[in-house]
Symmetry: C2
């Protein structure tokens, strides 16, 4: 059995944050597929056994089941030293911003657009796009001035924040190179890390056609 | 000068999370009013001097300016020991859930409903209420089984998660005692802590009438 077992599925950028970290860190890990699209993470069994929040990913290691990608990345940086930030408070500040405003609205928008039961209402699209553009504007400016979020070296903050940025325009409706060139250049730098793979190559699960 | 200076305003539940922690911890702190409703946090000066994310609160201490309530609470627990969690990963898991799904949608909804430039569109209201109800459902179940989020003792997780729960139904449109009785009972337990004050008594800023 691998040292780390990650319950994940290919469409989950939150799972990808952890999967990519494990792979680029050269850690002994194995994925287990979660059938999210059949409601696995929202079932009573999942909530009782894995995560009462009804979410993936879940990382099994050392007799524990850890959830929330940001908490998992902090735990892994603390226990392995890989991609650990020099300044924990600064790292946490960006991981919180990521969960609150950067990944959050973008992931929600892409899910509704591509995999939801109905296309997003125009008012909801306007709401989400306004928030995405504001958060992406903050990061575009920040990352234009440095190689990685906390400076010269990649850290867990980068693994958190790039989680949804390798899904293509057919899923997200965003053209990163044209709209956010500094963010795009940063994803390319991350792509240069040894071990880098895209979400559909790193985690189990069939590609799905976008619905809307 | 106080040991801790908190840039805040009465309507900000995110600032309140830190203000209430400082007050209940008996720490030497002073508030400075941020004129959020005149756009202070989104100005170029604010972004350059205080927080490039364009947000409050900001905590000044020890020559640093810290932002993001969750990162500030972790920093304060680490450096003062007050309300520190026994399990940091478990604490972070809930603080991330709070920022992503619990405070996040509820705060956004209450702001749009009470203080935004226009009432929320019905589709946006449906979107936000669905997410609020799901996140509140998770917490209602969790807190019904224990006194505080991590067990018998209050920690920074509780200070984070109750940040918006003392704003009344006239601002939030939610009737906590009727809709989420376990969450309401938990806010009452927190209200029993020595030093507890409501947001309008703890932070500067005029009360505003709800607009919609």
């Amino acid at each position: 059995m691998a040292r780390y077992t990650l319950h994940c599925f290919a469409q989950s950028g939150n799972a990808y944050k952890v999967a990519l970290y494990l792979e680029c860190s050269g850690l002994d890990w194995a994925p287990v597929h979660v059938d999210y699209f059949k409601g696995a993470t929202r079932s009573a069994d999942w909530r009782a056994e894995n995560n009462e929040m009804g979410e993936a990913p879940v990382l099994e290691t050392d007799g524990k089941r850890l959830t929330q990608s940001g908490a998992i990345l902090c735990y892994l940086a603390d226990t392995t030293g890989q991609f650990a930030p020099d300044d924990r408070t600064e790292a946490l500040r960006w991981i919180l911003f990521d969960n609150h405003k950067f990944t959050s609205y973008f992931a929600t928008w892409r899910f509704m657009k591509s995999f939801g039961p109905a296309p997003p209402e125009p008012a909801v699209e306007t709401f989400l796009r306004g928030r995405i553009d504001a958060a992406f504007g903050v990061v575009e400016k920040h990352i234009a001035a440095r190689d990685f979020m906390l400076g010269a070296k990649p850290t867990i903050v980068d693994f958190s924040m790039i989680g949804y940025l390798y899904f293509g325009p057919e899923e997200t409706g965003y053209d990163l190179p044209a709209q956010f060139p500094a963010i795009h250049a940063w994803t390319q730098r991350m792509q240069g890390l040894p071990g880098w793979k895209g979400p559909y190559d790193l985690m189990p699960g069939e590609r799905l056609a976008s619905k809307w």
